[in-house]
Symmetry: D3
Subunit: 224 residues, 6 copies
């Protein structure tokens, strides 16, 4: 995985994450306001939107803007990214400001949602640094880091970060989001084929823990 | 939890699940066709749609039909229910038929998604029995059962099946879908507050395993 | 027809109306505000929304939320229910508060719109009682009652409250909404087949008057 | 009321109806097919769409195409026009052809729905004549005529065809659609203010019967 | 081309433009406010909406309101009309008021967009006169006039104002909007078939200049 | 301007165009079918879709997929790109195949529509080469090349390819699409401020001709 910071000129934080054939552009946009339901609370807000370019995939898919509706998968992943990043932020220290994370998949080859989370964290850290330089925040909103991996079982072998071909063949698919401190933020395991038992779950979590630790190190270096 | 079968006259399978203050109406509709992308495959299909009545909650919420778009939460839960029930079905034995599971929340008091899955399984079993009586299927499509619970941590105590007030206060929230044989179909854990460690994850899974076993027994009795 | 009050725990008024195979859940929601165009008028507002669950009918129909648009029939019936209930309310005595009546058809076997009106009136009365207990209204907003029946001609025989099979076979179909005092609020007659003459119209109105009187009595008992 | 036939060059039947300040353009379009659900039945189909130009009214209203949704009133009136015109057509004699009636209100000054029905009938008759000249129909689809008036009570006086100012002040508003033979196709009476009794209903129907007879004569002359 | 002023009773300015078989109804609506993004600027705003009635064309087309989305051609033409008319207005002299120009094509036989611009100018002039009579504007907002023609090449012959049949056969199609003073506001040339060279472009602009001058004269007479 | 070919792995043709601060990703997708209205004609089809990522601009804009509707500007530019590229294609030689050109603006600093056309041509050429290698086309569909520039007047000076700051200040803005042979495909000039005369139009076209010739050379080199 390579992380290129400041790929965009306008965004307060931006990262191009490349990971196998997958390329995701993560942009963090700072806004000096919060959604209506949060006004007057003194608290900030983080939200995320995920989308795939029509030809990011092997076969072109129709644009959701033209279909006029957002698909369920897009919604599900946008929500996952938002929840994951909110786990490393202190809303109070942020003040009544918002950060929107746009994760646009330019090319997809498996693992787009976990690459999005891992990259968006770096863009978020840059955006928060930008805010702090302008003294927009009453404190330091960044209370930790998050990184994400997908793990799966191909045949009977647990594997880290499946590419697209492996992903399709996988029996079980698990997305794990962890803090830099090694704790879990999200665990989403799905049996695509046969259900899995506690022992296999344990081995997948071991793999994920290891993978997230490596990504945390990569994020640390990128931000250094 | 109480499960009332055949609550509706028209549906091939239908169940009213009541669980604390939560009431979900699950209807299974058989169709002798499959979606276009599956035609000619010889395989069946299972899908689900979840929705909440506007006044199922404490404060009335606007209808998604009037807003003209489906919210992310609705999409996410509909997809979870569909994936969960597909885990107990053999598509080949089903033939080119579909079953749609409609889970409509009449009243919400926490745990609506897990109550939906647990109830929808019973409606599905009834719909499959209906199909078999009419000799619509080349084999027996039902290869197991699924049930679901939510577990969470309130303060520092892991708890099974939080009601709405506990749910709001929970630090961690986990939805677990298991087969009747005690294996995992879905594990979805989210740290709403502080991230959780492996040990706590283990305790939550223990609780969930126990809870699902009880629900499996309840389903068995209801179907007897 | 049976009327079960307080079927829902959260709503300020709620009724399950059962009538033949038809089951409609009517919920009245109180809001301490009025639509924008009515602000500052000192007057209240009543509105209604009607919807059918996808499997309330013999064949499953697609959800309007998924289609992204409200059908003409839904719109027409929602407007009819709203107009009917506004006939028994004094807006001035209500103050700048709103009541929304949600009529959700759980199961349909003919007469869903008239069952909705008849049940919604009881839910409305309960919601108004709730408001008055909290001293939200400057006066008593309830100035009468309304009930509704459908009448039709099957073959050449005028009949009250057709079930679905009769409804389909009916030559003429008329929905009549009347006050408890025996006056008309809405008369909607439609010749599905042959047009009808003044004499037949008269006989249908006689039948409707009788039917509404019985329902008014039933509402009175339910609210006693 | 004046009826100008053939106002449009392209449509198979077209009429500009002027009635007080109200101007409605009615176009009948013939299509040599029927909706999917009617294919293979040997029967024809009639449908209608009603719409108001944004500046047909005193204050400009937003276009429904820009709002992205059809309002309830538009739906209700489109359905009323369609039902009314279907009452004078024999589907079997029509063969598997459709006629769509577009009623676009260019200027509104009360009575737009009844003017639409009265004008659309003439456009329909012209379109059917056009079809018969081309031998598209197995028989004569036109089995009668329909005309419509609105009647209301201003103060305590029943009045025919209220203009906009009177309409707003009306206590009761009734739209009546009748055949040329003097029978009822639709009776839609609504108490905007006080409910009405049987005697008043009778007087309104007398007025309507008289008004429709005059319009039928006008239609006959226009088509001569 | 004939221009009939005050075709509508309610609009502040209105024109029926007829041009060959083309009939466009242009209505100018004055509003004493501006869009949100322009509030507090002291400047006015002009915008336009173009639409075709479903049966304005030879074959009926579906309503955009029913499709739920505006097509690209409609958007493109609405924007062109708006830009063109903004060229003859001084926003400062207008004050914080808006004028909306609705151009509804009742019948189409080529040149609907240029007829819309030419007619909308007259409606705009009338609306501005209406405003000035009411002393709504700090100055005279009308700083010039605009008119528009389409020119094209049929075979190898440049021609002014193609009717529909010629339009379809045209190799090149150009819409030109000019001020009364003979300067260009918009030049939109498109090679439908073979691309065109500078010399041909020149000849088309000559034709357009001549055509616009004639229309300017016509507008002047209509407004006299 | 730099043109990077094969920026994407999956698309049949793809180009990243960079031009000042502007970055547009152009992907050409081949489909072995044509839209329904063109079936059986033996002819191919070319279409284009333009879109901006939410944070391509200085201030984040909302996604059109989330708003549920395509804006007018997006529609206008998509149509312009499609028309421009259709000018260099022979539909007959293409056979019944389609190519869709997706132009996604990753970063915007003026001239995104002309950069899209210039880049999309190169992606199109690659996609056609891909088709020819697979013998999908009866002949050579590529009959020429197209390139596009924007020219404008800042103050009184005509300038080529304005960046964003200049664009905003421009009095006149013209987009010119030309073939490699130096002929015009599209000329779209708009007076944002003062209208322009024939002499200025001439000078802008001179500039554009020169600019397009340079881009044609650049395209030739990129494809060499």
């Amino acid at each position: 995985m390579t992380i290129t910071r400041n790929w965009l000129a306008h965004a307060e934080g931006s990262v191009l994450v490349e990971f196998g054939g997958t390329k995701v552009l993560c942009a963090a946009s700072v806004q000096d306001s919060v959604p209506r339901w949060r006004k007057g609370s003194g608290l900030g807000w983080i939200t995320a939107e995920y989308s795939m370019l029509p030809r990011s995939t092997n076969t072109r898919s129709d644009r959701e803007s033209i279909k006029g509706k957002i698909g369920g998968r897009t919604h599900e992943i946008s929500r996952l990214i938002g929840r994951s990043l909110r786990a490393c932020v202190n809303y109070k220290a942020m003040g009544e400001n918002s950060i929107i994370l746009d994760c646009d998949v330019l090319q997809a080859d498996g693992g787009t949602r976990t690459a999005s989370i891992t990259g968006a964290y770096v863009a978020l850290a840059d955006a928060i640094a930008w805010m702090r330089k302008r003294r927009m925040c009453p404190g330091d909103p960044l209370v930790g880091s998050v990184a994400a991996v997908s793990v799966g079982v191909v045949g009977t072998t647990p594997m880290l970060d499946l590419c697209y071909t492996e992903d399709v063949a996988a029996e079980t698919d698990m997305n794990v989001v962890m803090t830099g401190g090694g704790e879990f933020v999200e665990v989403q395991g799905t049996a695509e084929g046969a259900p899995f038992d506690r022992e296999l779950l344990g081995r997948l979590l071991d793999l994920a823990t290891e993978g997230c630790a490596q990504l945390t190190e990569l994020q640390r270096k990128a931000l250094a």
